[in-house]
Subunit: 137 residues, 3 copies
């Protein structure tokens, strides 16, 4: 069994941002030399997420509006008694989930035609990490 | 390390449908010859999901009602400016999640007594795929 | 490839409870002797969840309030026609998700600085299981 581990750093300009990382992950899979296996893409911070969906601007706006409606920014989260103001970012991370597993087949990401991989930043403007770990043969 | 990859095709009669795929996955695990490992079950389309829960009709109705309340069908998603009308299906897919990892132990799915595996179609009546990939020994 | 499987049993005093299992999982990873791989932590019951977030009391209260607002306890779930009264627990499990994959690097859980692992019990006061399965080398 082979394994390959890399860490991606993000420091988004806006507090909330979606970053399409499909090509980056494809490149890492290629450089790993693993042809059959699983690729884990997992946020290492608890106010960010990773998900798979469509690269379409309207939909991305819909996703932000939806996340805000189900896990809204509020002043009065109890978490804010610690001095933080990112309670919504923790809940958005739980809602969208912080990780995905991508199948690797014949040395490539085995994705459907419209599947794109996104890093979702919910409390950015500072350095945060995502682990990419591939295991297989 | 061994790996085994199959693709399941679905073409549901209704636009929204739950399909219990537990026996199908168990059969694929058996035919893989892998006795210890992980089985990924992942929708390859962005308007479908895969989840584990109970095979009980009342609960399945509750799940549909709940999905509709949190990710409702609406005319006015921005995504619909592309001509699509499936914005809710994208959000339902994000909510329920599009994939699961099943443990394989002693050549079998290592599930709890009531755990059943479902393919959740949110925009069907056309051919869509799910990847089943098992790695292990 | 090596694999290591353990089962954790929970029998919570309260019906709803969060249990921080980070140290337990770290110990299992250490005892597995696996240095590079993936660790699956997956609830084997359909009214419990497993997630990664922050060990902070205020936030944990926020998470409970949020789960209750999005997947509330109600008398009138159709599932309750079976005699059960835990419909909300099934929906909370779907919302928070029932499993995570943890990367194992250099024989340790490869977690970010604030990532803690929680077992979320939504219908406790009885014995329930979580599978921990590690594969790698």
């Amino acid at each position: 069994m082979k394994s390959h581990t890399e860490y991606l750093w993000f420091n988004t300009q806006k507090r909330r941002e979606l970053v399409n990382i499909t090509d980056t992950i494809e490149h890492i899979v290629h450089s790993s030399g693993i042809s059959e296996g699983f690729c884990l893409v997992s946020a290492m911070h608890i106010t960010a997420g990773v998900f798979v969906n469509d690269e379409e601007d309207g939909l991305k706006s819909d996703i932000w509006e939806w996340l805000e409606s189900l896990a809204p920014y509020r002043q009065d989260y109890r978490h804010h008694l610690t001095g933080e103001d990112n309670g919504d970012a923790h809940l958005k991370s739980l809602l969208i989930h912080h990780q995905i597993i991508l199948p690797v087949t014949d040395g490539k990401l085995d994705l459907g035609p419209w599947q794109q991989i996104f890093y979702a930043e919910f409390d950015g403007q500072r350095r945060k990490r995502v682990i990419i770990k591939i295991i297989g043969d």
